[in-house]
Symmetry: C2
Subunit: 477 residues, 2 copies
């Protein structure tokens, strides 16, 4: 490895690489009206749900097929112009901002469910299919797709960020549910990372390398995901706790005992107040666990009995049950609204959303330290999380025009990241690195680990055209 | 990417790179008696369980710590001498053969269980710890490590080949059970791939990139694995079938119904005859399923009832139950001996062991085609497999001195690989690529996919010192 090539050249850096007119003409020639340079369209494609101000790309294209994606990438490669894959725009770490300009590649019209193979518990979809669309398609099959990060994200986007969400304590994260990918490389070649067997040890695991690569190593155009049999019985429950710690300890003990919880979501008192206001509910504004059990009727009852006993031993109140589908939906819908409900606590605010994830043994202590820290910020900070995974989110609500609030939020985020690392955890349980966490990745994993990532980036995208300036810097800083 | 550098230079190629005297002196200076050039020791380290004749390395070293591994790799890197990681020597694809000479790095003395974190369901071990040793250490904790490939392999070796085995239908493969690795890079740097949280989306997934990389991208020295709670109840059963197909269909239906089978192993009639002879048993020599159920007593009963009904509908006989630990061990021990028992069917033989894995929907057909194909070989070919994963092994028993038998075995292997690929499966479900499957990898995944792997290899090991000549060729052929 020639060390010199890794240093940033004096005259390049992160300057915008505006697409030359020849490229824009070629893209328009290829895609017609499915290519736009409209300011409004570009602005929308340079935004996500993060606290960042938008940085628009110079053009947006809507391919319909893997072949069209490959053609777009080949054209951009020929002009060394950045290409930024775009799903539904629900990421929250600045993944979509066109910090070096270029073309936003909007995959939302690649929305075909290509195959459902119920016998194999798999489905193959284009990258733009959303999780709700896929589950609607699957409704009559007896199977479902388990990843539920809250937003109605695209499957491709969820692969790109290694998303997880409320179901992962039982069914695993996107990593555990992706079997094979079709990817367009930085040269515009189309590769398939694996065939459709349930397991393989044939060569390096490119499936997992592209999963979580945030559009920086290749453009994911097709995904084969695992499906799960719809359980015979499902029961959801909410249970209140006088203290957050009791809720956390309940989940930890249940997981350690091997209870296969389907979901275990914690909301703090402020989050409950937020969803009460947003969804016009009157939930008790105290720390609350939202639980779900599934399996046969007998196993659901068995699990519920075990967890109810554990909860009671930690001060938990009675279980309020939701058994029928419409009742469960009424229970889970507010949880799904928690992010937007939280923003409404402070009109006009943006959220600095943290994503710490720590080993289960450290969760209670890390949360206690974090709650004490929140008191020092002077900002509203609802907290909720996927406690079965050791993952929790603090939504630090700031007025983006107030530098003092932004600084306080950044400082809090930094302290939380350090705290998560001290507990042998990660700064990013499920949101990815994007722009926001690039400086933190090195603190978490060390410069030499990040350097291995950088070598991979440089080997697969030597001209740095795939979502440049995200995850790892192309040049050693 | 400069295409030229990818072509094989005229004067290098796969020639042996014998360690210079200065390197051997430096290794002896570093490790004293833990460095050997004895012919017998080298011969033993150039062999595995494959059909290949041994190709010994030039020296063997036994480091005790990650630091010593790093020192050895740095010395070898300075002399551009190959380094081949060695666990217990149980691989079966020629992984360990020193085809370019060099130093075998035997990790078997790195056998410390460094930490058991029962609250987190994790353990951290040195790479040389074997699966049996780890489970003995865990016996009193209420947790266990689930990967069981048959051989008493080292944890590091199982990570390096992305092993799986009998438990993976329930607990996943090694990929699903590895949380974090400490790896020595080709330059002798020590990196950690992840922290110890249950999930992370912090940067590229180096953990999974090194898992299954067969010692070609880095030397795995420490592994943090997931543990599972010991189930309250376990019940094992054997059930006979008049035809292999009935056994296969039983497992497929059970998996589709979401029955969380702990194990589902199929042995054909010839395999049963082999273990009868080897273990002095009198099992009925017909296609047989070895099943295991686990969970609470109620769920075990429930699962067993469901599967018994499915089995009966496919011609299965009565379940012969083994409930107590010693009975279960008596049932599973012969299954664990199946590989060596099979070799005894033909004294002096070596096995060409296939490893096809196909989507569940294709398994019955692929197996039927394969059984018909076996008839044409004129060789004894016991068949057994992890049918819950779609994975089965044919042990083609050949006299290595007979060129006609070797040719017949190679031809059969090739046909089976093509058949697996035609069914959208893989040539390697769990054994890895090694030497043997390098030409097949490209047929399975395509030249462009293999080229992406090659770029990664070249980026992380530019002097091609880590187990050279395995998985992917360093130069485009």
């Amino acid at each position: 490895m020639n060390q010199e090539v890794m240093e940033r050249p004096q005259l390049t850096g992160a300057a915008r690489r505006v697409p030359p007119a020849a490229l824009l003409e070629a893209l328009a020639g290829l895609l017609g009206e499915r290519c736009s340079t409209s300011q409004a369209v570009c602005l929308q494609h340079g935004s996500d749900e993060s606290h960042y101000a938008p940085v628009p790309p110079d053009a947006v294209v809507w391919p319909l097929t893997t072949l069209e994606v490959a053609q777009v990438v080949k054209l951009c490669a020929a002009h060394r112009t950045p290409v930024i894959a775009f799903g539904v725009g629900s990421s929250i770490e600045g993944h979509l901002l066109a910090v070096q300009g270029g073309v936003s590649l909007d995959l939302s019209r690649m929305d075909k469910v290509l195959a459902v193979q119920p016998e194999d518990l798999t489905a193959t979809v284009q990258a733009g299919v959303t999780r709700e669309q896929l589950n609607t398609d699957l409704a009559q099959t007896g199977f479902f797709f388990s990843i539920d990060p809250g937003a109605n994200a695209s499957v491709g986007g969820m692969v790109a960020t290694a998303a997880s969400g409320t179901n992962s304590v039982r069914y695993g994260t996107m990593r555990d549910n992706v079997l094979s990918l079709v990817v367009v490389t930085a040269e515009g070649k189309v590769i398939r990372t694996a065939r459709r067997a349930r397991k393989t040890s044939a060569g390096y695991c490119l499936t997992q390398l592209f999963t979580g690569s945030e559009g920086t190593l290749g453009i994911i155009t097709e995904v084969t995901v695992k499906l799960h049999p719809q359980p015979e019985a499902v029961a959801a429950a909410v249970v209140n706790f006088p203290q957050l710690q009791g809720a956390v300890k309940t989940v930890i003990e249940a997981v350690q005992m091997g209870v296969p919880l389907a979901r275990a979501e914690l909301l703090d008192a402020l989050s409950i107040r937020a969803i009460n206001a947003h969804d016009k509910l009157s939930l008790n504004p105290v720390p609350t666990l939202f639980l779900e059990f599934c399996g046969s009727q007998a196993t659901v009852n068995e699990q519920a009995d075990v967890v109810a006993a554990i909860a009671a031993s930690h001060g938990g109140g009675d279980f309020q049950w939701a058994l029928r589908p419409e009742e469960r939906s009424r229970l889970w819908t507010p949880r799904h609204h928690a992010y937007f409900a939280a923003l409404q606590l402070k009109p006009g605010s943006r959220s600095f959303t943290t994503d710490a994830c720590v080993p289960m043994s450290a969760l209670a202590e890390c949360l206690a330290e974090t709650l004490a820290d929140i008191e020092t910020t002077g900002l509203p900070v609802p907290v909720f999380g996927h406690v079965g995974d050791g993952n929790f989110h603090c939504l630090v609500l700031v007025d983006p025009a107030r530098a003092d609030e932004v600084a306080a939020a950044e400082a809090f985020s930094l302290r939380l990241m350090r705290r998560a690392i001290r507990h042998d955890g990660t700064c990013s349980g499920e949101h990815g690195v994007g722009l926001h966490k690039m400086p933190w990745l090195e603190q978490e994993l060390g410069a030499d680990t990040v350097d291995v990532m950088r070598r991979i980036k440089r080997a697969l995208d030597p001209d740095n055209i795939l979502n440049p300036g995200k995850v790892v810097s192309f040049y050693r800083e």
